[in-house]
Amino acid sequence: MLSIKNLHASIEGTPILRGINLEVKPGEVHAIMGPNGSGKSTLASVLAGREEYEVTDGEVTFLGKDLLDLAPEDRAREGVFLAFQYPVEIPGVSSTNFLRTAVNQVREYRGLESLDAVKFLTIMKEKMKLVEIDQKLLSRSLNEGFSGGEKKRNEIFQMAMLEPKLAILDETDSGLDIDALRVVSNGVNKLKSPDNATIVVTHYQRLLDYIVPDYVHVLYKGRIVKSGTKELALELEEKGYDWIKEEVDAAV
């Protein structure tokens, strides 16, 4: 479904991604871990189409299409969803209006009829239950004044509304307490199907108890330097990253 080959990207002339290779098939869950500043969010942003990053080499195909060729909104409409590490507060834009606009533009792109207010609200209520998000939050401006946990929950709620094929969760677990983590993970798990895939970026093995990965990758200095199964995450939790850094730095 997603195929990343030799992806290089830089920001303001500084190379950040230096040759990423990754294959993701439908139904799979991939975890990406790695020390701070290794390029995890950069990878997520490049996939979602953030313009500040310049792709200098490599290719990415998503469901047979050249992903890098598409505008950010078209990537979303094709089914890529990025849950932001730091969701943006947007005063003056109501959460509900924003979501209805988004859902209907995505539906239009997919050749589906747009939802009227009543249908939209019905679906919204249903998905709100899934992530146990409070109605009050959604009557406010988008993310404005939300706590960290509320913002993360809102990301998963948006994901539920948009029904992506590939969800990229960038540290959706960071800063969540155990209860919130359970709710958010439950939400993600309920949305999983044999047809869609998930990439979870995380620092904490804890999340992977709830969202069980098929593969775990370690990103370091802009490359995937180690891949394994969920046992690798346990090992990282126990030993930290130093042994991997040493291995890599010694090889250079």
């Binding site: 189409g49 990537r75 990025l82 005063p91 003056g92 924003f98 988004a102 948006q158 948009l162």
Partner: protein, 425 residues
């Protein structure tokens, strides 16, 4: 150059005196002022970003008052927006048109200035306020007087609708006096329609007295042709426990200068000034506001926001004057701008003069670009770039529109703004 501007333009006006023989003293005050001071020279501090005199020299070829344009019921009908229900006062190049106006509500009285000869005319907007007040004194032919008697509420809004069309760059002079008596209530709407794309110079003075415990709202839209040169002097005297709210929206024009003054004359009164300028092309808009706190326990609130595209230019100058007597004043001022192009310019300046020691005053101004982070966030959810920009810009602008409490007019302005934000920007 300085003296040329000062004398030449003034002289040209002096050659063209109005026919109406009333208002002798007012005209004399204007003449005296102009003979000794002239119109603002190039170096004049108050007009340094907005060179009206120079523009007049360049663009106005005939300093006579414009003759009436041909108007019709259809034109008036076209200018009425959806949901409007109220009275309409139509002006043709500055002169009241009885046949096209609809004055049907009982709770206020309407007359020509030349008939009513109200004593307070010229006592609220004084020649010392601004040279263009002096010029208006000299040049307006006749104006209108609207008074709301004590304790009355004018239920439906009064819509002041101007049609301007001046051949070969002529002049339009307007004079309006509003007197809202004790404990009365009224809402005004104002809009100006340019009938073609020719230059004109419109110099208007609106004086408003808001007497004790009364409430008045004034919602104004400026959406004129791209050649129009406009100076508007709007001065209000706000008395004890009275509230006055102005919401001014500027969408288009050549060079627009608005001097908005609120004199807070007693305790318990409140003056609110909201403004939105949404500019493109070469439109130049200058809002000079002035709040004068004279007595304790009065409030003023001010929020002006601007979105500037292309090579448009905005000027915001917000003066807050708190006199020694005016303890316990609350005065808030905010000016926020978004520049959408490298050629757009904004000059913004708060000007606070505070002589009392126990006051709450705050002011702030920001100028920035569209928030790229927010734009990406919306796009990443599947919203097209153009629409995402429109959503963000409207979110910025909408905060001003919320203060238009007459819903159909709010909707009308909102539609114009959204059209603009969705298409051009």
């Amino acid at each position: 150059m300085t003296t040329i501007t000062k004398n030449k333009v003034t002289d040209l006006f002096l050659l063209n005196k109005p026919t109406n023989s009333n208002f002798v003293e007012l005209r004399k005050a204007g003449l005296d002022y102009l003979e000794s001071n002239g119109l603002p020279a190039l170096k004049e501090e108050e007009y340094k970003f907005t060179q009206i005199s120079k523009r007049l020299e360049q663009q106005i070829t005939n300093f006579k008052s414009a003759q009436p344009a041909s108007l019709s019921k259809v034109l008036v009908q076209k200018a009425i927006f959806e949901g409007f229900d109220g009275d309409i006062i139509v002006f043709n190049n500055g002169e009241f048109v009885p046949t096209l106006s609809i004055i049907s509500q009982q709770n206020y009285s309407f007359s020509l200035l030349s008939d009513a000869k109200p004593e307070i005319l010229g006592s609220i907007a004084k020649v010392e306020n601004d040279p263009f007040v002096a010029l208006n004194n000299l040049a307006f032919n006749d104006g209108v007087f609207i008074s709301v008697p004590k304790g009355k509420k004018v239920e439906k809004p009064i819509y002041l609708l101007h049609f301007n069309q001046a051949n070969q760059g002529q002049v339009v002079n307007q004079r309006v006096l509003i007197d809202v008596a004790d404990s009365a209530e009224v809402t005004f709407l104002e809009n100006t329609i340019s009938l073609d794309e020719e230059s004109y110079f419109s110099n208007t003075v609106v004086e408003v007295k808001v007497a004790q415990n009364s409430h008045a709202h004034y919602y104004r839209l400026q959406n004129e042709n791209r050649q129009a040169i406009v100076v508007n002097n709007f001065v209000t005297d706000i008395h004890r426990d009275a509230t006055f709210t102005s919401v001014a929206t500027q969408l288009q024009g050549g060079m627009l200068r608005n001097n908005l003054t609120m004199n807070l004359l007693d305790s318990g009164c409140e003056g609110n000034m909201y403004g939105l300028y949404l500019l493109n092309g070469k439109t130049h808009v200058d809002n000079h506001t002035n709040v004068d706190h004279t007595k304790p326990h009065a409030d003023s609130n001010e929020l002006y926001k601007g979105i500037l595209a292309d090579s448009s230019r905005g000027v915001f100058n917000g003066k807050i004057f708190v006199r020694q007597d005016a303890q316990k004043t609350n005065a808030f001022q905010q000016n926020n701008n978004i520049l959408l192009s490298e050629d757009a310019i904004i000059n913004t300046k708060p000007q606070l003069e505070i002589w009392a020691d126990d006051v709450k005053c705050s002011h702030g101004c920001t100028t920035g670009q569209l928030d790229e982070e927010a734009l990406f966030y919306l796009q990443a959810r599947g919203i097209g770039k153009e629409q995402a920009r429109g959503l963000l810009l409207y979110a910025f602008a909408g905060e001003v529109m919320e203060h238009i409490l007459y819903q159909p007019f709010q909707q009308y302005c909102t539609n114009l703004i959204q059209d603009r934000l969705g298409s051009k920007f």
